[in-house]
């Protein structure tokens, strides 16, 4: 026994197979009694070398790999990557496809936040919310399936637009969801927002100041919980977000509760964005008519020889953007998702760097849990809303 017998530091291991670490996150916790002295995250269990793989794929092929980063918000990843390629190519996409992208991305944000709420509440001990959230996610998955044909890895966005037009009945189904959803959020809030146990578990836990949040590179709802009013959709609008009317909710104290409040309000705002985008959905093409780089509309393949040739050439040979480099970012549900692409003018990207929001957000865990109780670690991880798929890549 060491000299300081009164202060015994115990090192314990949490994860990687622990339900509240949201995937394969491993934490080495150094505890003094029940108080956390130090936490060391170990990541990389899900490392698949996506950035290396990208260098051997064509620009179109890589879209499917982006689904597997943040697998709870595949549309945002698709869009982030495709916007970077479009910036590199310097092309404009049709208004209709921009609006479809907004609708799908905001539905994805709701879907991602629902899963966050479900698991976050479950971690802290509120079981009912879990079932409610998954009920709504089921509807959303049906909607995604209608448009993209898949429920999880959508790969719906294409360079120059989206894969196919919205199917018949899609708008009606989404409208139904959008009209129901505000009442659903009220249901969740009656269970949590003023719940005494919830308040005790989340108020003044995992506090991070605005300055620290910026210095640690937090983004998304996690930084807005600390009162920093920064949202990429507002500061650097992409895909016609500047035509949408919505507010960016912020917290004040930067604790777990504030991050919870911010995400709840964000779901409402996303719901309103979807409603607006549906009301003003323009008519026109869903993918740009740029034969060299954008896949032709699927319907034209049966009618036009040129379309078939272009389709064949793009799929077999790929596209060759000009040499250069771009960085483009979007507001994914977890925060700023950036893609840095270096092109050497060939059909494969020379280098792709993904800036995953969860990776950077997780970095500040140490700062947030120091001096708190072991049980608070679970609450803080939940409030950061991490996905190991994009942390490890």
């Amino acid at each position: 026994m060491t000299a300081a017998a009164t202060q015994q530091i115990m090192t314990i291991n949490m994860g990687p197979q622990h339900p509240s670490t949201h995937g394969v996150l491993r934490l080495i916790l150094e505890l003094d009694g029940e108080t956390v002295v130090k936490v060391t995250p170990h990541i990389g269990f899900l490392h698949r070398g996506v950035e290396k793989l990208a260098e051997y794929k064509t620009y179109h092929q890589f879209i499917t790999l982006t689904d597997r980063l943040d697998y709870l918000a595949p549309m945002s990843n698709n869009l982030g990557y495709v916007l970077a390629v479009e910036k590199l190519l310097d092309i404009e996409v049709p208004k209709r496809s921009q609006y479809i992208r907004i609708i799908m991305c905001e539905l994805t944000r709701i879907s991602s936040h629902l899963l966050w709420l479900a698991t976050h509440a479950l971690d802290i001990g509120a079981m009912t919310v879990f079932f409610y959230c998954f009920r709504e996610r089921e509807t959303l998955n049906d909607i995604f399936e209608m448009a993209a044909g898949a429920r999880m890895n959508l790969s719906y966005v294409r360079i120059g637009g989206v894969a196919r037009d919205l199917p018949d009945g899609f708008v009606g189904k989404v409208r139904e969801f959008v009209n129901d959803f505000p009442a659903r959020i009220r249901d969740y809030e009656t269970l949590l927002t003023k719940n005494k146990i919830w308040l005790m578990r989340t108020k003044d836990v995992g506090v991070i100041s605005a300055e620290d949040a910026i210095n640690y590179g937090l983004s998304g709802p996690s930084i807005r919980g600390s009162g920093v009013k920064w949202d990429v959709r507002k500061s650097e609008p992409y895909s016609s977000y500047d035509e949408m009317d919505f507010i960016v909710p912020i917290g004040q104290n930067g604790d777990v509760y504030d991050r919870y409040i911010v995400r709840m309000e964000e779901m409402r705002q996303s719901n309103e964005i979807v409603r607006q985008a549906m009301d003003t959905l323009p008519k026109g093409d869903y993918i740009a008519d740029i034969p060299d780089v954008a896949l032709p509309q699927k319907e034209n393949l049966k009618k036009s020889m040129e379309a078939l040739i272009h389709h064949f050439k793009i799929v077999t040979e790929g596209i060759c953007p000009p040499a250069g480099e771009v960085y483009s970012c979007v507001e994914a549900p977890k925060g700023e998702l950036g893609f840095y692409i270096v092109s050497d003018g060939t059909k494969n990207p020379y280098r792709i760097k993904i800036r995953p929001p969860s990776f950077v957000n997780l970095e500040s865990l140490q700062k947030m849990v120091e001096g708190h109780l072991l049980a608070d670690v679970v609450a803080v991880i939940g409030s950061l809303d991490i996905v190991l798929g994009e942390i490890d890549r």
Partner: protein
């Protein structure tokens, strides 16, 4: 998005020897910095009122050996300013044979994990980094996977299938 072209000039006025190249592509400003100055430039850009790059969006390495056969690595910094709402990209070239560069963790704490990742993937040594260890690859991993001379299928001696086949014999 604010106009960023003035930043290159300001930086040049402050550190005449530091800036080697200023380029704009697709509306993005890229400033190439001499290796010895990166610490000072980072501090200046962060504290300076007009630049106010308080947010490090991203930091990564690039292996340029197949791009211009120069045998150099590049460390690329993507900076963002919350106050001014503008972005800039800094690039620092370092020789592949001796990939050393000063850390920027004392300016932006978020650089910690980014630099560990660049070390893990490219073997770039960030001098002064508080805890420069591998971050994504497993314990005992050898080599630097994102270097261009590292094969896609890896360098592990046997694939699992070969290991199993040997066991059968």
């Amino acid at each position: 998005m604010a106009d960023v072209s003035a930043i290159g000039k300001r930086l040049k006025a402050k550190f005449p020897n530091a800036v080697t190249k200023v380029k704009t592509f697709r509306g993005e400003l890229t400033i190439s910095i001499d290796k010895d100055y990166i610490g000072r430039v980072a501090k200046f850009l962060c504290d300076d009122k007009e630049s106010a790059f308080d947010y490090l969006s991203d930091l990564c390495g690039v292996d340029k050996s197949r791009l211009d056969s120069s045998d150099t690595f590049e460390v690329v910094y993507h900076l963002y300013s919350m106050k001014q709402n503008h972005r800039v990209r800094l690039k620092v070239e370092i020789p592949a044979s001796n990939p050393n560069i000063d850390t920027v963790t004392d300016v932006w704490k978020t650089a910690d994990w980014h630099e560990r990742e660049a070390y893990d993937m490219f073997g770039i040594i960030f001098e002064g980094h508080p805890n420069l260890q591998r971050i994504l690859t497993p314990d005992g991993f050898e080599g630097y996977p994102l270097r261009k001379d590292f094969p896609l299928k890896g360098r592990q001696p046997n694939s699992l299938r070969e290991v199993y086949r040997k066991g059968e014999k």
